[in-house]
């Protein structure tokens, strides 16, 4: 997936000399090829993320297309105000790439883990938020980012959890859900994003459920979310992000307003990680491992089967 990112960025930079990569002193090895191919379009802006984001706004104002790369914990989270005032207020074409989103920096602790980046940015007007699940979605997201006229936040997990699509996917359409598995309509459906799409596919296979990937978190298509809701007895959202303010929140907001259904939000609970350990260890700690997800979805399935899915009884 990271190779797909690097390759797409090189292609964009070669095709358009106004593309400029700014990095906050991150991306060791990731940009070796980029620097070899387009050395003049690379700026290491130093460990100075606030200035880097504002500077990207200045560059965009005079015709450049900056891609700003940092860890998600720093861009966007550290620089939300710069993104708000300097970039989104004027709809400037800046692409912010937040790497290592979620729990993947498990051994490094809370400074580098980021389960709040989508929540922090989703309320910024006009910001497109992308969250690819595999290399094919990454290529499509980069193509989308390269042609979008406004600001983009591309959320990137560092861990590559394998392909979820059999091959290249077509151009992304704003907010569209991608169906990755067809399952039974009398059961809940799964809507997942980023690293959790792989988990969703596994669980959907076990329980014979439909599953969708959401590579575009904002804007999210109301029609697609409602269609998923009406094609199932309830929706389960899966994300390596807080249950507050991310995909689960967006789906719950939309269904509550347009297509009431029961929604189970599976994500990082509203707390920091407690212990040090591997990425897999932290996924288990937060209940995001395949076994825990499978049993939670099974319990939800039983719940939504018992009665009218629109108004199921409380457990």
């Amino acid at each position: 997936m990271r190779t797909a990112f690097s390759r797409a960025l090189i292609d964009l930079a070669r095709a358009d000399p106004s593309v400029l990569l700014l990095t906050g002193d991150h991306g060791y090895a990731l940009f070796d090829e980029y620097r070899r191919c387009v050395p003049g379009q690379y700026v290491n802006a130093g460990v100075a993320e606030q200035n880097m984001v504002s500077m990207a706004a200045g560059l965009a104002r005079v015709g450049f297309r900056p891609f700003v790369y940092a860890l998600a914990a720093f861009v966007p989270v550290r620089t939300v105000e710069q993104i708000k005032l300097d970039i989104t207020h004027d709809s400037l074409p800046v692409v912010l790439v937040g790497d290592g989103a979620g729990l993947v920096y498990s051994h490094l602790g809370p400074s580098h883990q980021s389960a709040e980046d989508v929540a922090c940015t989703r309320a910024l007007p006009g910001l497109t938020i992308l969250s690819p699940a595999d290399r094919f979605e990454m290529s499509a997201c980069m193509a989308h980012a390269g042609t979008t006229r406004g600001p983009v936040y591309l959320r990137m997990g560092k861990a590559d959890r394998g392909d979820v699509h059999p091959g290249a996917i077509g151009p992304l359409h704003a907010g569209h859900l991608l169906r990755v598995r067809e399952g039974r309509a009398d059961r809940p459906g799964l809507v997942a994003t980023g690293s959790m799409v792989t988990t969703a596919l596994g669980v959907a296979g076990v329980l014979d459920l439909s599953a969708w990937s959401a590579p575009v978190l904002k804007p999210l298509s109301v029609a697609d979310v409602c269609a998923a809701a009406s094609a199932s007895t309830g929706l389960v959202t899966l994300e390596e992000h807080s249950v507050l303010g991310g995909l689960g929140a967006a789906v719950a907001e939309m269904t509550a307003e347009h297509q009431p259904t029961r929604v189970l939000r599976i994500g990082v609970p509203d707390r920091f990680s407690r212990r040090c350990g591997s990425h897999e260890y932290l996924l288990r700690e937060h209940g995001l491992d395949a076994d825990t997800v499978c049993s939670r979805v099974a319990a939800f399935m039983a719940l939504t089967k018992r009665a009218d899915p629109i108004r199921p009884p409380l457990p």
Partner: protein, 291 residues
């Protein structure tokens, strides 16, 4: 290809940019809108008038010309003084001044990039200058001779993002960028030296690799000369002009009285301030029939 603007684009001898008239416009706005930050605007009047009259290039008088110089008001609190200059440039008209702060009006109490002639949205401090650094990097990459000016408050220098930008500007040898500090000695809650001491500002900027000069920020001739001198010296270095100013300059009872960061005009103080600037209650100068 961006063409070189001529000196005619830069100099506007036909436009007077008289400081007293600029301050009168500020007072009219503050009175019309019951607005604050009068003293913050008064301290940058001569910096702005000198820049607009003699330095900033706007080909075809177009505020959005791709060939223009850039003036970034990083201390957005002084924006009323810039509105007065934008009026003189013809990019605003009297109705904007009279309608200040009325429902549905265009002009905010802090700099907003949607207004013709304002490059950035500021007021949250520490934003404008780093955006200016980005503009300067873009200009440098394009190889044009466009210049970028950023006016910062001294209180604004508390913000860490400013010093990030200062380091980046020096490292990348942005010699088309000039940082101008409005050193009026005050920030919102008191004297800068009491809140967070800045010490020797010229020394600080020089140590960061800037070509630096200090100037009386209310002496237009001196400002003009200092700007010219900074551009002419220190090849490869960004410029810093430390302008010693007086917060509330021009109206004696406002000068260095930090209450005028917040205070609103009354009928009495409005008339007294106009009188101090040499205007009668209708805003007309002695012997001046024009508005």
């Amino acid at each position: 290809m961006i063409t070189r603007a001529t000196s005619q684009d830069r100099a506007r001898p036909d436009r007077r940019f008289e400081p007293a008239r600029m301050r009168r416009t500020v007072l009219e706005m503050a009175w019309a809108g019951s607005a604050v930050h009068v003293a913050s605007a008064f301290s940058i009047v001569e910096l702005l008038t000198t820049l607009y009259r003699s330095h900033l290039r706007y080909p075809d008088n177009d505020s959005r010309s791709p060939e223009r110089d850039f003036l970034v008001l990083s201390k957005g609190h002084g924006v009323m003084a810039q509105y007065a200059c934008l009026l003189e440039m013809g990019w605003l008209d009297e109705s904007h001044i009279r309608a200040y702060f009325s429902e549905g009006s265009l002009l905010f109490g802090l700099s907003d990039s949607r207004v013709p002639g304002l490059e950035v949205s500021s007021g949250s401090l520490g934003h404008g200058f780093p955006v200016g650094v980005g503009i300067a990097m873009g200009v440098q990459r394009k190889g044009t001779d466009q210049r970028v000016y950023a006016i910062l408050g001294d209180g604004e220098l508390d913000e860490g993002a400013i010093w990030e930008g200062v380091m980046v500007a020096a490292h990348h040898r942005m010699d088309k960028l000039m940082l101008i500090v409005d050193q009026n000695g005050f920030q919102a809650m008191g004297r800068t030296e009491e809140v967070l001491a800045l010490g020797d500002l010229e020394g600080r900027f020089a140590s960061f690799g800037f070509e630096t000069l200090a100037v009386d920020g209310h002496d237009e001739t001196a400002i003009d000369r200092a700007i010219g001198q900074l551009w002419a010296t220190g090849a490869g270095k960004p410029k810093a002009l430390v302008a010693r100013t007086i917060k509330g300059k021009g109206v004696p009872f406002m000068e260095s009285d930090n209450r005028w960061h917040y205070q609103r005009l009354t009928a009495e103080t409005y008339a007294a301030a106009l009188a101090a600037l040499g205007f009668d209650a209708a805003g007309i100068a002695a012997g001046d029939a024009t508005r």
